[in-house]
Symmetry: C2
Subunit: 646 residues, 2 copies
C-alpha cells in the first residue's frame, strides 16, 4: 500500500530522539506532533508506549489541535525506562462519512455513495462482536433499505456510536509509526525533589584530632532530619592511600596524623568496596544506612572513579592505568598542577571493557548495602559513553538508583552527561548572582528544551566551592542563597557548616580554609549565629507546598529594583501558589515596586488577592501592583502563599 502519512516535529524529544527525556512516576506526559497526509482523508493517531524491556504497547488516542498539530498524553506509573512512539493511519469510513454529510440531497448516484459506505462497514463486520455486530448489521440494513433518502441516512451517520465502533474496529491499513522510538527515563520522585545535606563522616566526631565514625554520624541524623533534609551525602568512606598523601590545606606532604583526602580512594585495607577502618566496619555502615532510612532519609555515596597509588587495583590491574615510558604510572594532572595522590583509570586501556564491568560491580556492591543514590565525582573526565552504558546497566535492574553528576564543567558536556542518563546534575547556581544571571539561567533550565532531560540540583556550597558572596555577605547571604537554591530548584543541597554560616576561605580563592578535605573538623553544631531554624522553615515550606516541588512552573515577575528578585511557582490547577521576593544585596535595605499579573496566579485580570507571609504568618491583601521592602538584617526574603483571589 502506498505510504501517505507524515509524522514529524514530535515534542518532547531530545536531539531528534537520540537521547531520553526524564520524568518521575505519576507524571503525565503530553506529546505533540505534526501529523498529516495528502488529500482530504481523515486520519487517526495514537500515542503508544511500553516498558523498555517489554514488547507490549499501551495506547491512547491523539486529538488534532490546529494546523495539523496533534496532541496525546499518557501517565507513567512505574519507575522504569519507557519507550513511546506515535502511530497514525487513514480512516476510510470517517472520510466517507464526512464527505457524505456534505453532499447535496439531490445529488445523482447517491445510491452508489451509500453502497460505498456499506462496503466499508462490511470490512469490519468480521471483527465486530455481539452487540456491535448487531448494531452494524442494523445500520447496513437501514442504509440499504430506506429508499436511499438523504436526510434519514445523514441522521443515521451522525450517530456517534457508529463512528465509535468503526474507528475502534477499522483496519489500520496504511499505518505509519514514527521513528526513532523515543525514550523516557521514569524515575522515582526523589530524582526531582529533595533537600540534600553533604558531610564528611570523619568530621562527625567530638574528640579533636580523632576521626569521627559511623556511630558518631548516626548521632547526627536526628539534627539533620529535624532541619528537614531528605538525603545525606557522604564524602568517600573508603580507605585512603598513604603514598603522596596530602596534608592540611592541600600541603604536598601530610603529617603522620593527617587523614589524607578521601578522594584518594584505596589503601592496604581495600578499595572502592571497602570501608575506611577508622570510620567503622561494613556492619557499622549498614547500621548507619538503616538509621537514616528509619529517620526518613536516604544515604548518597560518592562515586569517584580514581585510585590512590595504594589501591588494590594498582597491583592487581596495573594495565588499567596510564603507563609512562619508564613503566611508572601517571598521576592525575592538569599541568602545571599534579595530583600525586591520585591515579586516574585509563579508559583507553586494552582491557577497558573489564574496567567498565568492575565499575558496575562497585555500584552493585553498595546497592546491596542499601545505597540508591550516587553522587558521581568529576564524571566529565570519563567517557560520556561509559556513563551511558553504566547508568542503563544499573537502572535496568535497579530503576530506583539515582545518579547526580558533579560536573562543574563546560555547558555542552554538562548537558551531554545528563543526556547520557545522569538523573541530576550540579549546576552553575553558585556563580549566578545578579537578577539578569538568574533570569537567563533559569530560562535555560526551565524553558529552552533543556528541562526535558536536565534536572538541576542547586548546591549553595560544596566542599570545593565557597562562593565570594558567602565569604563576604555574612548571615544575610547565607539566608538568601538558601532561599534561592531551595525555591528555584526542587532539588537543592547544602554542605555541612552552611548552617553555621562558615565562610573562611583560602584568600583569593573559593576554597575553604582548613578544608575537611584534608583534615578532621570538630564543630559545635549549635554554635551561636546558626541558621538551623531558618533552614528548617525553608524545608518545611518546600515540603508543604506542591508548587515548590516542580521545576518548570517557575515564573519571574517584574520588580523595578534590580536587587530584588521576584518570582512565583504554582501548581497547574492553581491550588497552590507561592510568591518569593529575595533581596540579592546582603548589605543594604532594598525596596521596590513590582507587578504580579493577576491572571498569572489564577485571579481575574486586574483583581486582588490575599497572601499569607509564611515566615511571619501575617496576611495582606495585594493588588497586581505591589511594594516590597527587604532588610538583610531582618528578613532578607518574603515567602508568601496566595490564599484567596478576588
Amino acid at each position: 500500500m502506498t505510504k501517505h502519512i507524515v509524522i514529524e516535529s514530535i515534542w518532547p524529544c531530545v536531539d531528534g530522539g537520540r537521547s531520553p527525556i526524564k520524568r518521575v512516576v505519576g507524571d503525565t506526559i503530553a506529546v505533540e506532533a505534526d501529523i498529516f497526509r495528502d488529500g482530504r482523508e481523515i486520519i487517526r493517531a495514537v500515542l503508544k508506549w511500553r516498558k523498555k524491556w517489554d514488547e507490549k504497547y499501551q495506547e491512547s488516542p491523539m486529538v488534532p489541535l490546529i494546523n495539523d498539530r496533534w496532541r496525546g498524553e499518557f501517565t507513567v506509573t512505574e519507575n522504569t525506562r519507557t519507550m513511546y512512539t506515535l502511530e497514525a493511519w487513514t480512516d476510510p469510513f470517517a472520510s466517507w462519512r464526512e464527505d457524505f454529510l456534505k453532499r447535496m440531497p439531490q445529488e445523482p448516484r447517491l445510491e452508489c455513495e451509500i453502497k460505498e459506505g456499506i462496503r466499508l462497514i462490511q470490512t469490519v463486520l468480521a471483527r465486530a462482536k455481539a452487540a456491535d455486530k448487531k448494531f452494524l448489521n442494523d445500520v447496513i440494513k437501514k442504509l440499504d433499505g430506506d429508499g436511499h433518502r438523504f436526510e434519514p441516512i445523514c441522521a443515521l451517520l451522525k450517530d456517534e456510536r457508529l463512528l465509535g465502533i468503526m474507528t475502534r474496529l477499522g483496519e489500520r491499513a496504511d499505518a505509519v509509526t514514527s521513528t526513532p522510538e523515543m525514550e523516557v527515563i521514569v524515575d522515582r520522585e526523589r530524582a526531582l525533589v529533595g533537600a540534600w545535606y553533604e558531610m564528611f563522616v570523619h568530621s562527625q566526631g567530638t574528640v579533636p584530632g580523632k576521626m569521627g565514625t559511623f556511630a558518631d554520624a548516626k548521632k547526627r541524623l536526628p539534627d539533620i532530619r529535624s532541619m528537614g533534609f531528605d538525603v545525606v551525602y557522604l564524602a568517600p568512606i573508603h580507605p585512603i592511600g598513604v603514598t603522596s598523601r596530602k596534608g592540611p590545606n592541600n600541603a604536598l606532604k601530610a603529617g603522620p596524623n593527617d587523614p589524607g583526602c578521601p578522594w584518594a580512594v584505596g589503601g592496604k585495607k581495600g578499595g572502592h568496596t571497602a570501608i575506611h577502618p577508622a570510620l567503622g566496619t561494613l556492619e557499622d555502615f549498614d547500621d548507619f544506612v538503616k538509621a537514616a532510612k528509619e529517620s526518613g532519609m536516604e544515604i548518597a555515596l560518592d562515586f569517584a572513579v580514581q585510585c590512590s597509588p595504594d589501591h588494590p587495583w594498582v597491583k592487581d590491574h596495573p594495565d588499567w592505568f596510564y603507563k609512562r615510558p619508564d613503566g611508572s604510572i601517571k598521576c592525575a594532572e592538569n599541568p602545571p598542577n599534579k595530583y600525586e595522590d591520585i591515579y586516574p583509570l585509563n579508559f583507553d586501556a586494552a582491557d577497558w571493557r573489564r574496567i567498565w564491568v568492575e565499575m558496575k560491580e562497585v555500584l552493585l556492591f553498595w546497592i546491596q548495602h542499601g545505597v540508591k543514590i550516587f553522587r558521581v565525582d568529576n564524571p566529565h573526565n570519563k567517557p560520556v559513553y561509559f556513563w551511558q552504558w553504566l547508568i542503563e546497566e544499573i537502572q535496568s535492574e535497579y530503576p530506583d538508583v539515582i545518579f547526580l553528576a558533579e560536573a562543574f564543567t563546560r555547558p555542552k558536556i554538562m548537558k551531554a552527561l545528563s543526556k547520557a542518563g545522569f538523573t541530576q546534575s550540579y549546576t552553575y547556581f553558585t556563580w549566578r548572582q545578579s537578577k539578569y544571571d538568574f533570569a537567563e539561567y533559569m530560562k535555560e533550565l526551565t524553558q529552552s528544551g533543556v528541562q526535558e532531560y536536565f534536572r538541576p540540583n542547586f548546591f549553595t556550597n560544596t566542599h570545593d566551592v565557597l562562593s565570594p558572596i558567602l565569604q563576604q555577605g555574612g548571615r544575610p547571604a547565607f539566608k538568601t542563597r538558601l532561599v534561592l537554591a531551595a525555591f528555584l530548584s526542587p532539588s537543592y543541597g547544602i554542605y555541612s557548616g552552611y548552617e553555621l554560616c562558615e565562610n573562611q576561605a583560602v584568600p583569593g580563592t573559593e576554597e575553604y580554609l582548613n578544608s575537611e578535605k584534608y583534615e578532621i573538623k570538630i564543630r559545635d553544631w549549635n554554635k551561636p549565629g546558626h541558621i538551623k531554624d531558618y533552614i528548617k522553615m525553608v524545608n518545611r515550606i518546600r515540603s508543604e507546598n506542591r508548587a515548590l516541588q516542580q521545576l518548570n512552573n517557575l515564573k519571574f515577575f517584574h520588580a523595578e529594583n534590580d536587587q530584588i528578585l521576584l518570582f512565583g511557582k504554582k501548581t497547574a490547577d492553581n491550588s497552590n501558589i507561592i510568591l518569593v521576593a529575595v533581596n540579592l544585596d546582603p548589605f543594604h535595605v532594598q525596596e521596590t515596586s513590582g507587578f504580579i499579573p493577576a491572571g498569572d496566579i489564577g485571579a481575574r485580570p486586574g483583581g486582588s488577592f490575599e497572601v499569607v507571609d509564611l515566615i511571619t504568618g501575617q496576611r495582606f491583601t495585594w493588588t497586581e501592583k505591589i511594594f516590597i521592602k527587604l532588610d538583610p538584617q531582618g528578613e532578607p526574603a518574603h515567602i508568601l502563599r496566595v490564599e484567596k483571589k478576588f
Copy 2:
C-alpha cells in the same frame, strides 16, 4: 578503543537530518556543530562531503569557535545531490604538546615526559615521507639529545611545522562520524533566481474564437523576453477531454466550440505525452522550446497528475482509478463540489508502483524534448512519498530538472513537499498585505530554519488567484505587488494579463471573470495603461544587482507609517546594497520617517550614505533618519542603490 567524542547540534540540518537542505552551485555551506569529549585532550574535526552516488569523500578542517562549537565550510561546485558529515578524533600529540608547554622547567621526571612525546612522534614515522620523515627524525634526535633542557624543547615544540605534520599524519584512532549523514540538494542557479511568466498557448493567437498555436506563442517570445523574464510557464498543452467538458466561467456544460479546461488532461489524441492537435505538433513544440532557449528563456511545463474521462489510461488501465461500487470511475470531488471532467489517479491501487513509474516516464518524455522545469499541479493531493521518490529518480539522472510545487495548501504539508524534494514552492504571498503580514511571513521564510529547504516563488497572480487588492487597487497595486514579489523573493512570477492590469473577477471571488481556463482569450498586448516598461525596469534591476538574487539577506527597517514597507538586501561583502520602500496603500499618498542603521549597510554607525534612485536616476545623500513620501499615482515605490558611504 573506548568511544570518547560527541558530535551534536549540527547546523544546517532539517528534522535531525531526515530531509535534505538546498543550495545552488557555487554556494559555500558553513556547517557548525558541538564537538567535545571528556577530559582535556585536544580534538580535531573535519567536515566531509561526497556526491550522493559516489563513495569518495573530500574533507576540510573544522575550527573551534567558542564553548565547544566548531565550524567548517565547503563549496558545492556541481549540480548534484551531495552528502555531508562530520568526523572528529583525539589528537594525542597535540594534547601532549600542550601539556608539556604548560609544565614547570624544574618539574621532576621531565625526561619521562619527553620520551612520551618521542613515542608519539615515532607512531607516525612510518607514514611520513621524504622531507617530513627527515624533519621528524631530527626532532626526535633533538628531543632525546639535548640534555632534556626545558626551554630549547619548548622552542622546538612551538615550531608549527611539527604540529602540522603530526596533525596531518596522526592516526584517527578514536574517530567518530556524525550520523545520520546529511544531504544537500545542489541545484543550478535557476532554482533560486528567476522571473516567471505564465501563459496559455491557446490565448496567444490573434483571431477571435481560434485557438492560438505554438507558432503564435513563438511570436510572443521577444515581447516576453524584452520584459526581462527567464521562464515561460505554459498551462497544460495536452489533448483535452470532451466528456463532461466545462464551458466558460466553469459552466457545467460546454458549447460545441468551447476548448475545455487544459487540466482535464487527455483525449482521443492522447494523454500526458501528447500535444493538443489545435496547438500544433510535437515538432512545433520542439521548435517553440528551441526559440525560447535562443532568446535566453526556458519553458516550464505543467505536470498535472490527473486525467479527463477520455484519457487513454482510463481505457488501458482502468485499475489505476477509484472504482465506485457500481463499477464506474469516481471523479474528483470536494463535497459538495464535483469535478466531473477530472478523474484522479488512485495511488492506493494494487498496481500503484506502475503508476509511479508511468509518471516518471511522462517526465522523461518531456525532458527528452528539452523541458527542465515542471510546475506541478496540486501536489498536496498525491502522497508526499511519491514525490520524494519521483524527484530523486529524475534528479539522479537529470540534476538540472526543477520542480515547482503548486501547493496552496496548509503550511505543514506545503513544507513537507519541499522537504520531500520540490525545488521551489508557491506561497501565501498573494494573501500577505499588511506590514505585519510581511514581517511575520518573511521572517518565517528567511530566518526560521525553513530557508534551509523551502524556496518561495512569489506569484503576483495566477490563473486561479486574482487577489482583492489587485481587483480594487488598479495600476498602483499592480506596480507595488510586482515590486514586492520581485524584490522580496529571488524567484517570482506573473500570470499573463498582469502586464495589462487585468482585474475583472467573478464577483465575490478571487477567480478571473471569463477565465482563459475555460475559453480562448485574444488580447492587445500593448493596450493603453499597460505596465510592461515598469516590469522591464524591475527585471533589469533584479538582474543587475546580485543582492536581489538572494533570499536570506532580507532585512526590514523601521518606518513609522504602517502603510510603508521599508526593506533592504545586500551582498555579504557590502558591494551591492539595495533599499526598497513600498507604499502598501494603492489609494493614498503616504509619507513616513524611517530609520536605516548605517551599520546595517556597511557604513560607519551614525554615518551617511549616497543613494541613487534606480527609477529616476536621482541621487540623494541620506543619514540614518530618512523621510519618504510615496504617491501611488506617481511612483508607489522607491528602489535605491547605496553608492557611497561616508
